[in-house]
């Protein structure tokens, strides 16, 4: 029996590995080849594939002074938006799951609404409040975070919902509460470590959206990263594609960095949760 199931396991694993290889090769071709095409175009000295290579368009990116201020502003916006989104969304979604399940469809629809309205017309709705904010509160580009939190809601809701759906929120909460944990402890030390992958994905989506956002910032007359990239891109064709590829690379490196930071703690947190529960109950969990 063991020998049969062992062989069966190996065959299944081989099939799985073959499946993964095929999927990754096809996905790699589909997603990387167009980017390589852009890279090739941005390094052309002439106008064909056979022309010599040049780095002049890439160098032009670093000569553009307004880009630094725009990058800083966009990074700050990404951080603020992600933080506010997580603080707003995760506790609310857990709470709705636990105590107000009838509200979940409504919350789901609210979190889909920003994606339904195209940004070009959504910004029309933002004009009056941003005008008021600019004249009475602050004119700073960081006020865009208010709008950006709304924009990332659809993506982040979906990612976090998938994570929450995969764990048994009710049982975990009840166990922790019966051990005497406060609501804050339940959220921070019980729920969050168990949905860390979902939270990471939501953060990645949120950061990527803020770094890639153009329309709302542009129409509210703020010059964020994408608006400055559009301005720089109007100088010539080569630099317009070079800066687009550079922006993708920049976002990618940032997200990889985040992914490394995000993953480290859950291991420790899981141990902490178990230790805490054990200490409280006076027995091993």
């Amino acid at each position: 029996m063991a020998a049969v199931s062992g062989g069966f396991q190996r065959a299944r694993r081989r099939k799985l590995q073959a499946f993964r290889a095929v999927v990754f090769i096809l996905a790699g071709l589909f997603f990387l080849v167009p980017i390589l095409a852009m890279l090739e175009f941005s390094t052309r000295a002439g106008n064909t594939f056979t022309s010599p290579r040049t780095g002049q368009f890439w160098r032009q990116i670093f000569d553009y002074p307004d880009l630094v201020a725009a990058i800083t502003a966009s990074l700050e916006l990404a951080a603020i938006t992600s933080a506010v989104m997580l603080v707003l969304l995760v506790p609310t979604m857990v709470w709705v799951r636990l105590r107000l399940p009838g509200l979940s469809r409504i919350v789901e629809f609210i979190c889909l609404l920003p994606l339904t309205i195209p940004a070009i017309v959504l910004v029309v709705g933002f004009f009056p409040m941003y005008l008021w904010m600019g004249n009475n509160f602050s004119d700073n580009i960081l006020t865009l975070a208010f709008a950006y939190v709304i924009l990332v809601l659809p993506y982040c809701y979906r990612a976090i919902d998938a994570g929450l759906g995969a764990i048994d929120v009710k049982t975990l909460t009840e166990a922790a509460r019966s051990l005497g944990a406060s609501w804050f402890t339940v959220m921070w030390r019980v729920i969050v470590p168990n949905v860390s992958a979902a939270i990471l994905n939501a953060t990645l989506l949120s950061v990527a959206l803020v770094l890639g956002e153009y329309t709302i910032a542009n129409n509210l007359l703020y010059n964020n990263l994408q608006v400055e990239i559009a301005m720089l891109g109007r100088a010539n064709a080569g630099v317009s594609i070079a800066v687009a590829v550079a922006s993708l690379l920049f976002a990618f490196l940032l997200l990889v960095g985040l992914a490394f930071v995000g993953r480290k703690r859950p291991r420790q947190q899981e141990v902490l949760v178990k230790t805490y529960a054990r200490d409280l109950a006076g027995k091993t969990v």
Binding site: F41, N47, F127, N218, N219, R234, A237, G238
Partner: protein, 378 residues
């Protein structure tokens, strides 16, 4: 005795007159109130604001200028912005919405007009200018007299700045025969998948004029754009006309080797493609000018007016000329000899009398397009 009292009275009168004159001129001698914030907001010319130096001082005090929809590769605006910044280093220019349309500019003023980020000055197409004069503040630049009456609004609400002619720009190494000599060439089989417009004619001014130019070349008139729409329908059936948005990148990489656009915008492709040529059909010389306007709610009114003065100075006009656009003071500058002769010689050649779309003709064209364009190129 009589002479003495007369001279005494004269003396008193002279002294009184001098005193009155001195009192009357004292406020204008004080430059800080000559071009204050409130004066600049309603100043209709530099002299109304205490003269050029007072205007410059007020603009420097404001320290900022917001412009909108002025991408660097449009009629050499990149050089114009740097030129202004070099001449007035204390004024920082913020350039917003590089890809915006004229309507977007006006929308920014309408919706965010009282914000400190609102645009100070506008560079817009004639249709939008005529429809939105309530948003503009009248201003007459120092060289106002050089602009023809037909190219400006009498009180200074808007005034034309530069223009060009609708053209067919093409990469001579990618079209059969290496040259386009008439609009009908575009129907040739060697043009499959190669012809593009700069925008959708129901949306963009340049595209509407592109269709009108074809219309005129095919025997149509300024009042009726149907022949142009029919030609594009045939081009689409022949698979020669493609709906992709033509950008500098698609031109350089050869995807859109034939683009209908203003000659000054088209000529800029020559930077990327050495074999780029610009063709204006001799039987369809369709011209179009853009217009400047100062926003009534400009957050930096003195800087806005100084910008206009710069644009209409010889230096500003010549920079537009370098961008291969025809500045509105071109004729006057040619007479005064201040024109940049080399740049003028580099302009795409045009032989014939240009025609311009009037406001009513543009309205008729857009009405026809709104009901027929989408179906024609489907």
């Amino acid at each position: 005795m009589k002479l003495g009292s007369l001279s005494r009275r004269l003396g008193v009168a002279v002294v009184a007159f001098v005193l009155l004159a001195a009192c009357g001129s004292a406020p204008s001698g004080n430059s800080s109130s000559a071009c204050s914030e409130s004066t600049a907001k309603t100043a209709t010319s530099a002299s109304a604001c205490g003269g050029m130096s007072a205007l410059v001082a007020a603009a420097n005090a404001e320290g900022k200028l917001n412009v909108i929809a002025l991408p660097p590769d449009w009629a050499n605006y990149g050089a114009i912005i740097s030129g202004f910044q070099a001449k007035y280093p204390s004024i920082k220019i913020t350039s917003d919405n590089p890809n915006g349309s004229s309507q977007d500019e006006v929308d920014a003023v309408t919706h965010l007009g009282t914000s400190s980020r609102a645009p100070d000055v506008l560079d817009i197409g004639m249709a939008v200018a005529l429809a939105n004069t309530s948003l503009f503040a009248p201003y007459k630049v120092a060289t106002w007299g050089d602009i023809l009456d037909s190219q400006k609004e009498p009180t200074g609400l808007w005034f034309q700045d530069y223009g060009g002619f609708m053209s067919i720009g093409y990469d001579s190494s990618k079209v059969p025969g290496g040259t386009i000599s008439s609009v009908d060439d575009l129907m040739g089989s060697g043009f499959k998948g190669k012809v593009a417009l700069n925008g959708d004619p129901t949306k963009a001014n340049a595209a509407l004029n592109g269709v009108m130019m074809i219309n005129l070349a095919k025997g149509g008139s300024l009042d009726d754009i149907s022949k142009g729409v029919d030609f594009f329908h045939q081009l689409r059936q022949a698979k020669n006309f493609v709906p992709i948005q033509a950008t500098t990148a698609t031109v350089k990489n050869g995807t859109t080797p034939v683009v209908l656009d203003w000659d000054y915008l088209s000529a800029a492709h020559g930077k990327d493609v050495s074999t780029w040529k610009v063709f204006v059909p001799s039987n369809a010389i369709l011209g179009g000018y853009y217009a400047q306007a100062v926003s009534k709610t400009a957050p930096h009114p003195a800087a806005a007016r100084l910008w206009e003065e710069y644009l209409y100075s010889d230096e500003g006009q010549n920079l537009w000329l370098k961008g291969l656009a025809r500045p509105v003071r071109q004729a006057a500058m040619q007479q005064s000899g201040k024109i940049d002769a080399a740049a003028a010689a580099a302009l795409p050649p045009v032989n014939g009398t240009p025609v311009f779309l009037s406001a009513d003709q543009a309205t008729a064209a857009k009405t026809y397009l709104s009901t027929h364009w989408a179906a024609a190129i489907a």
